[in-house]
Symmetry: C2
Amino acid sequence: KSTKSHDPEGNIGCAHALYDFLAEAGNNELSVKEGETLTITNRSIGGGWIEAQNSRGDVGLVPEDYIECKPPLVALYWTGLPTLHLSSFFRSLTFPLSRLLQASNGNDPWSVWNSDPSGGSNNNWASNPEGTQTGSAASQGHPQAYQGPGADCDEWDDEWDDSTGGYPESESGEGGAMQRGGAHAPSMKISLNKFPGFSKPGPELYLLCKQPAKGKEKLTIYMGEVGPVWSYPETQLDCVVADPKKGSKLYGLKSYIEYQITPNTTNRPVNHRYKHFDWLYERLLDKFGSAIPIPSLPDKQVTGRFEEEFIKMRMERLQGWMTRMCRHPIVSCSDVFQIFLSYKDEKDWKTGKRKAEKDETVGVMIFTTIEPEAADLDPVEVEQKCEQFSRFTKAMDDGVKEILTVGNEHWKRCTGPLPKEYQRIGKAFQNLSSVFNSSGYQGESTLTDAMTAAGKTYEEIAQMVAEQPKKDLHFVMETNNEYKGLLGCFPDTIGVHKAAIEKVKEGDKLVAAGKISTHDKVTMAKRVSTMSYSLQAEMNHFHSNRIYDYNRVMQLYLEEQVKFYETIAAKLRQAHSQFTTM
Amino acid sequence: KSTKSHDPEGNIGCAHALYDFLAEAGNNELSVKEGETLTITNRSIGGGWIEAQNSRGDVGLVPEDYIECKPPLVALYWTGLPTLHLSSFFRSLTFPLSRLLQASNGNDPWSVWNSDPSGGSNNNWASNPEGTQTGSAASQGHPQAYQGPGADCDEWDDEWDDSTGGYPESESGEGGAMQRGGAHAPSMKISLNKFPGFSKPGPELYLLCKQPAKGKEKLTIYMGEVGPVWSYPETQLDCVVADPKKGSKLYGLKSYIEYQITPNTTNRPVNHRYKHFDWLYERLLDKFGSAIPIPSLPDKQVTGRFEEEFIKMRMERLQGWMTRMCRHPIVSCSDVFQIFLSYKDEKDWKTGKRKAEKDETVGVMIFTTIEPEAADLDPVEVEQKCEQFSRFTKAMDDGVKEILTVGNEHWKRCTGPLPKEYQRIGKAFQNLSSVFNSSGYQGESTLTDAMTAAGKTYEEIAQMVAEQPKKDLHFVMETNNEYKGLLGCFPDTIGVHKAAIEKVKEGDKLVAAGKISTHDKVTMAKRVSTMSYSLQAEMNHFHSNRIYDYNRVMQLYLEEQVKFYETIAAKLRQAHSQFTTM
């Protein structure tokens, strides 16, 4: 197990891998998975390498560019830094912190801390895995813009949630994988798209494995009305994330938030900290990521300006994430998800955790557990389906980002210039009214009272306008943001399929070259068909959820919009009635 | 009478006076009134003087800076000039024209053509007589800003209305005062405020005149409930300005618009061109200006982008001006106003005109006809009243300008960025809906149809938002703009009173110096009391109209706003109903 280690020179410390790295055999290298927590054991190797130890105790060399180090302790106590353009305490604490570290440690290995692979740390809505700009540059620096994910600080969640003061913990016995500090989605993408050489194991592992592991796991795919579908449980799992409580340990040196999660199955609440969610996410991604898009946790989101608001927002998004996982027939039924939701006691939890971490049916090997109850597909059809889904998810990604962009602009207008304008209109009416009152002319109080009331009505409208986005646009934004995250996982999932298709296409060539047997070729075709069924089942699951979600959010939005405009009309009608008809 | 004269060297031509100029006796100078049309008879005098002839045939020297010359004929035919920022034909024709003349004739006397005394030819809402900035700088160049008076071209109205092609006319026998090309209000103010030396005759003329002219005119002031009031006619005069018709003369070389004015007294329409309104304005200003604020005609307003829109807008404003004049008990009963509204035939009209032009009860002498039916006021009370009105009109002027400023901003937002945003929201919903349609997943047409409908609804809302200001804000703007013009006349009217008060204060000194007799001093006090009654009657008239106008316009505005928001709510409710409740 990893040892807690920290020397005064900063030579040894905690770090995590930014990208996947595959060790070359015999070179004394250490394979690391992106996001994996490492303990740096020797920083003085030179030649761009450092020595690190993983949570299993293996020690080896890793390219230092692949490692992101935790900041030195002192920086966490630094407060009172100048805020750049964010007014809240939270942002002022974290944003300049990373900047400071960058600026003052030019040649220091710590300075990679803030290396944000998605570029532009201030880019709302731009934390999409492909690094695509979503037009949000226009929103930079606007304090009232909708606060999406990808806000200023990668390190925020980790530090704030788990230790508001203190060295990033590395508790032995709790599993080292919890220490990732970086962003999942962006760096994962980087690893797949920009550094294909250090990608996850390709589909060959599954396509060509001699005898698929025969575990007790069995994921059946049926033919439903809409085509291949997962096997859905009879009652849908659901849970409520609630009651965030601040806890502390080490005599108050470290504080954290614990959420209460109550599943509808046991109706018995369990407690989890953010880092437990993060652990769960890692396990699900490892296990199902090749077949099922596992959306990132709502991390790195600095939404609230106050602690309370921040916690509320995070809880809301954790709820959204958990609901989506509960709704997934494969995820929700998995052992790891079940143990997370309904462990009986600490021991039960620890056992479950250890078991989950040892699970070997991960990555592309998940396909070995999938059993479609239908005839094998032709490779041509497999490719067609794959292309279709690829096009659709790309198109929807664009559509969703467009909504986020216009929504963000609308949010800014509704909370910024528009209410200011209504307020000024209101003030102008009231000012003229008070001038009229000073006329010395008798009997105009009916007019001036009515004008004052009309002015006040416009001030009320100003306030309504400013508050409305929280009541309706917020949910449109949250839903689309969630979908953006989800859609950002599809290129990975689809990518595995595309790679498999390419492999199958090479079948004849590989046979001719004597690299695989004819039997292998047939097996590959059969297995890529299984993968296609899996993708289709997943797409059908996605579509049915999408229809439900958009139907719901559009209804809610329009309902609130109707109320909004009706209330304004009623207020104005009231104001109108105060004028006399001459 | 003036002779039509135009020599090829441009030596002789038409011009008009920019400011009042009082000739010094024995210096061969010619007194001119601001706005008066002159014929330049000799441009080669030198020393900053030119020789000019007025419409009565008097010839004399005038400072050349006081004269604005008409442009040479050729420029009027110049079309196809690059537009600067105004898209319409009208604006493109006129705005660059003046610029061109300025640029190409640097040292030419013609280059004074575009000298705009109010500064900033592009300054919406800034044609107020005091030249005060109303914050409209922000609206510069915005094509959709509310188009108030004082738009680009001083020369526009004159040229376009009276001669779309051809030399500015100087018809003999029609009265020379019609040829003014400049702006009344701004240049008048300049003359009074910036060049006090060339002001109108002061109140002394009235205060010290030996025996007030005993005409048949008699303007009685009664004590009403609210204080001194004018004598109101039993039925209020009213008229309808309608049916603008394009006429032409000189075989089509000159075209003009003729409006039909039908008073409620005779119910018989009379026709008038804009320049006849202008003549009427001049007469009313001459006759009543010292006692009654006569608002400027809606001249110099380039509001419509198309001929039709322009004519409609001008007609609307001429109607507003005529309605205000009709409502005034003194103005509406005057001979000159009556003949304008109800002349029987051309001969009747010409006779009436000639008579009006010969009227000598003008300027401060109007006070000789005023007869208050109440005890003389104490000079202290006179001064108090005067100060009170001065304060009120200034405060209201500020209030009105504030409304115009915020209204103009709101206009821009409602016709510019806001509908664009709603349109983009609508498009984003529709785009996502069409992506959904491409999913290949069955049975989602209810959702996509509903989403498309919702998107279209937001596009409809976009259009409603853009069109709404014309339905409600327009009238708020027009009313306040009218009041801005009216309030801009008060400093003049009040100024005459202040000057009179000062004169009375000097009474003892003047008696001591032997300049006036004790009897004169008593007379002055009595007459300043008459002036105060007149001001009070006028203020009470103003107040009662103000209450009526603002009550009406606020009601109209709120009524339309209620309709607007109710329609939006109804549209959204309809859109909402298309989603299925799951």
